[in-house]
């Protein structure tokens, strides 16, 4: 039985792991390799590293820390941030990342998803989507959400983008629901439900985990394949071993 994945997310800025509320007020929470090892030891099924400064500044993530992480840990990890062409993706994958995730650059140039899938196979290609509910009741995507001064609202509907990126070769979608991100009120049930219905590839929920029950609901009621969280893990509010024990006791298939 394929197990559901618990995925700590490490936002990286200038080589350190940081976290803010609603992408603002970032504080340093620790060293990349130290945190990666801690989460691996606690039973994280996968790690995601987002270089949140990379895209707005028009540069790609530097390869140095990717290689350090790849040497240190023996669970899979995905790198996101400013990957804008096949060559920058290749450098990250050669440095030892298992998957690359594209977000803003795919919105700039959607063909990027096709090119990455052709070069590396769909299984390497994750599309991250930052999405917000607007006044007219539609979810729409956001670009450059790593920097509040550069963030852009796009006319593109989230649900249309979910369909399009799968056609272009996304092997997994990470849906970051910005209305709930960092505030620990639970994953965005309505939005995840709507996206799940249109998503035939693995779907990872992101934004809003605050309690053990939020994870259970995401897996059991929303049928997501993975649940990503940052602040509850970094702060120690939720420990992965207790989370896994809770999920197993509530009928969720997890890796012991």
């Amino acid at each position: 039985m394929l197990t559901r994945r618990i995925i700590p997310c490490l936002d990286v800025r200038d080589g350190k792991v940081v976290k803010g509320v609603r992408f603002r007020d970032l504080v340093v929470v620790g060293d990349i390799v130290d945190l990666a090892l801690r989460y691996r030891d606690e039973g994280a099924d996968e790690l995601v590293f987002y270089d949140i400064t990379a895209s707005p500044e028009g540069r790609s993530v530097d390869r140095d820390w990717v290689e350090r992480v790849a040497r240190a840990i023996d669970v899979p990890f995905c790198v996101a941030g400013g990957i804008r062409d096949v060559e920058s993706a290749r450098r990250i994958l050669h440095a030892g990342a298992d998957k690359i995730s594209v977000n803003s650059p795919a919105l700039e140039r959607p063909e990027l998803v096709n090119e990455l899938a052709a070069a590396f196979g769909v299984q390497c290609v994750v599309v991250g989507i930052d999405s917000l509910l607007e006044a007219d009741g539609e979810w729409r995507v956001r670009q450059y959400s790593g920097d509040p001064d550069k963030m852009r609202a796009l006319p593109r509907r989230t649900l249309d983008w979910v369909v399009e990126v799968q056609q272009r070769g996304a092997g997994e979608i990470v849906l970051n629901c910005m209305d709930t991100d960092g505030v620990r009120s639970g994953y965005d049930q309505d939005q995840l439900h709507a996206v799940r219905a249109l998503c035939a590839v693995p779907l990872v929920a992101s934004g809003g985990a605050g309690t053990l029950e939020h994870f259970r609901a995401a897996f059991v009621e929303l049928d997501v394949d993975g649940a990503l969280a940052a602040s509850v893990f970094h702060s120690g509010a939720i420990r992965i071993p207790e989370l896994k024990t809770f999920l197993a006791a509530n009928g969720v298939e997890i890796r012991p």
Binding site: D74, P76, G121, Q123, C124, G171
Partner: protein
Amino acid sequence: MSARDVVLVDAGGTNIGSVRYALERLGVDARISGDAGRIRRASHVILPGVGAAGPGMARLHKAGLVDLIRGLEQPVLGVCLGMQLLFDHSEEGDTACLGVIPGQVRRIESDPQHRVPHMGWNALRRVREDRLLDAIPGPAFVYFVHSYAVPEGESTVASVDYGSPLSAIVRHRNFCGMQFHPERSASVGALLLKNFLCP
């Protein structure tokens, strides 16, 4: 373990670094080489690989390594795409593969309970005894990421259930394969790599 002369076949597979680091953690300093003579001299050969079958075979042809790999007599391990390339043929791009293990690589059938790619940690099911499985606990979880697979068959040592039983570990003569990523499968993966390298 350090006396092993392990060579990773360099044919552009993007997980080659990860496999090398996993061996480093076992105290094995593996060489990366695309040189026929160097590969032939190795005590153990590993064929890593991520991506699609067609480009994967094209890279081996371009590097002039197809006949060399077919003729290897030392233990050979294919990882992920590297395992699939050991079989006769892949449906992915209708690709003729190395043909050192009999069998076909097919697309995983997708349904609402079984999304493709098959991505994440799934349990190994022991099919027959093999020293690759020595000291592997039950249940043992390993990390899969793939859209194509070899159905359970003659060469299957351990399988994984994903809609139907798929080959997770295979062996035919000196050729072994792991469909999942041992380099990213925590302590179980490390033990499987160690078992491959043990005499």
